[in-house]
């Protein structure tokens, strides 16, 4: 029972990380109608920039706090140099151009930081366990991720539901002309939204760094997972992205944690433990296929 609880928490933690990554993607897709494959690169850059700044400042908190504005600036710069030219283009152009950006960023990281992976240590004050229930310890760092992730989710929900920016976000890509008619500076709005998405992606990357590792291409596979999440949730829907991220997080962790035992009943234990992660990944994609066949525009997507 305790084990189950811990695994569910791990699933929540992974789901929130995925949500951070997916939120920026679904915003840019919903508002600017832009497919940004390079979003995973911003996730990677977040981790690398944080690694450097933590090294320079010798403080996890300070390094992290400095990394976030740096990622914001990077995001805005990418938006101005490349992304801005893509809004009016078709999806194929966007896919190609941002695919080019991925290659660029992966190689840039290799040139600047070298081919070997880096690691960021869990900061001292979080390098312990806390009792989430009497007698049930849980790593404090992972718990901190859950707290930060939940705070960002609440912030985003507030942003979308209560603010003028949120109103523009909800107006969506279909009403781009209406947004212009309201006298909003669209260029600035898009840059800001893109920068915000970059911050979320970078935050996810640097928070994941102490658990996973900081390496080239770390954003590539997780990007696909984030795309799957926003497609399941329905493009442009923050709520959909949140729900889908939670479900995917649970499938992934629960699959990893419990599938081996189930598989062991009919295959060798080493085969079971290596097949389980692959199977839980497969389950995520099966889920997406089922959702799309059932609702071709996702759970909360706008019907066309």
């Amino acid at each position: 029972m305790e084990y189950l609880l811990l695994q569910v928490l791990n699933g929540v933690q992974l789901g929130l990380l995925m949500f951070l990554l997916a939120a920026g993607l679904t915003l840019t897709l919903g508002i600017m109608d832009l497919v940004n494959l390079a979003h995973g690169s911003l996730y990677m850059m977040g981790a690398y920039i944080a690694w450097t700044l933590i090294g320079v400042t010798d403080s996890f908190v300070l390094g992290t706090l400095l990394a976030l504005p740096a990622i914001f600036l990077l995001g805005v710069a990418v938006e101005i140099v490349v992304i801005r030219k893509l809004y009016a283009r078709d999806h194929l152009t966007q896919v190609l151009a941002t695919f080019g950006l991925i290659l660029f960023f992966n190689e840039l990281v290799r040139a600047l930081w070298g081919p070997a992976g880096k690691s960021i240590a869990v900061p001292g004050f979080l390098n312990r366990t806390i009792e989430i229930l009497p007698g049930v310890p849980y790593p404090a760092y992972r718990f901190a991720i859950i707290v930060v992730g939940a705070l960002v989710a609440i912030l985003l929900a507030w942003l979308v539901a209560r603010t003028r920016l949120g109103m523009l976000i909800r107006a969506g890509a279909s009403n781009r002309r209406m947004i212009g008619a309201l006298g909003v500076n669209i260029e600035l709005l898009f840059s800001l939204v893109f920068g915000l998405g970059a911050v979320f992606a970078g935050l996810a990357g640097l928070m994941a760094a102490p658990i996973a590792s900081v390496r080239i291409g770390m954003g590539d596979d997780i990007l696909i997972l984030a795309l799957v999440i926003i497609v399941i949730g329905g493009i442009g829907s923050i709520k959909g992205a949140f729900i889908a991220a939670m479900v995917v997080g649970q499938i992934d962790i629960v699959g990893r944690a419990f599938l081996p035992d189930i598989l062991k009943t009919f295959m060798s234990s080493s085969a079971a433990s290596s097949a389980a992660p692959a199977i839980s990944q497969v389950l995520v994609y099966v889920l997406m296929a089922v959702v799309l066949v059932w609702r071709p525009t996702g759970l909360f997507g706008q019907r066309t």
Binding site: L103, F104, L108, D220, V228, A271, A278, A289
Partner: protein, 322 residues
């Protein structure tokens, strides 16, 4: 035929095909075996690109998972080989059948969606196949699987590099021939019409979905063939051959060559491989050591192509006469 040679396009294409046709002789004469291996991969990837062009170029269907057919064709051969079935007469039909059936299945599911959702669902199915491949612990899992090449006793020995190359080249020519007929056939015109205006085609009485599904299935089968060849080329299969980056590479190749142009996939593949081989030494000339980071140049180049050169290489060769 002779008239076609007078256009830049005709001349360039004829030259390319001529060089490809005698490539094993050239590499032997100049003792450049390495070039033959690159040539073989160019020919195999061209077949895959031709198959993607059949749906992306002529159908406007942005399938972001086409490398999965590399995997399905390759793994079908690999698994049979690992299980002791070495005859190509069994391996190849089984692999083609698997690719065709899978393409028909996921085509039927994916083509219900439109636009971005279609891009994503094809990507997702490719990832699904990828993870199934990496979960096949009995067949090497993530590390992949060494296989022995398919046997066609008395007909051809695939271990002979030149023979294998010529087989691939013959299959490329056949694919190009078929694609040329397909593009201007009754079927091809419906597919291209639906790319231009789906609603209109439906109102003309065409069940567009069925045509697209047929095209997707044909493209999957041909993609599977390229997978069979790729597995035989390296005597090795692994999940890496169907990673989503490979699907991205295939899209890049088709666009680079010229979408919906018959020989576009051929130009695109050659350009892609030449860039991959030539950029590092060129950069090293500019500054020693830069060559290692050639993708820093290649990435932005892709961005520029996507933005400003969507007609691809084919459009540089002058106007096309349909």
């Amino acid at each position: 035929m002779m008239a076609a040679l007078r256009t830049p396009r005709g001349l360039a294409t004829a030259l390319i095909l001529l060089v490809l046709a005698v490539l094993p002789l050239l590499t032997q004469a100049f003792d450049q075996r390495y070039l033959l291996s690159i040539g073989t991969r160019i020919v195999i990837w061209s077949i895959a690109a031709v198959s993607l062009n059949m749906i992306l170029g002529y159908g406007g269907l942005v399938s972001f998972g086409h490398a999965m057919f590399f995997g399905i064709g390759g793994y079908a051969v690999g698994i049979l080989s690992a299980e002791g079935v070495s005859s190509g007469w069994i391996q190849w039909p089984v692999a083609l059948l698997a690719a065709t059936a899978w393409a028909a299945l996921i085509g039927a599911l994916s083509l219900r969606t439109r636009g971005l959702y279609f891009i994503m669902i094809t990507l997702a199915f490719a990832q699904l196949v990828y993870y199934v491949g990496s979960g096949l612990e009995a067949y090497g899992g993530d590390d992949g699987l060494n296989i022995s090449r398919s046997r066609f006793p008395g007909l051809i020995d695939l271990r002979d590099k030149a023979s294998f190359y010529w087989l691939c080249f013959a299959l490329l020519c056949a694919s190009l021939w078929f694609c040329g007929r397909y593009a201007n056939s009754h079927f091809g015109l419906v597919l291209r019409g639906a790319k231009s205006n789906e609603l209109r085609m439906t109102a003309l009485g065409f069940p567009v979905f069925r045509y697209r599904l047929a095209a997707f299935t044909i493209a999957g089968a041909l993609g599977g063939l390229s997978g069979i060849l790729l597995a035989n080329e390296g005597a090795y299969v692994s999940p890496a051959m169907m990673s989503w980056m490979k699907s991205g590479d295939l899209i890049v190749i088709v666009v680079l060559g010229g979408m919906g142009a018959l020989f576009g996939p051929l130009y695109g593949t050659i350009a892609f491989f030449v860039l991959e081989e030539a950029l590092p030494p060129l950069l090293n000339l500019a500054h020693k050591g830069w060559g290692e980071y050639w993708m820093i140049v290649f990435g932005p180049l892709l961005v520029l192509i996507a933005l400003y050169a969507r007609g691809g290489i084919d459009s540089l060769l002058g106007r096309r006469h349909e």
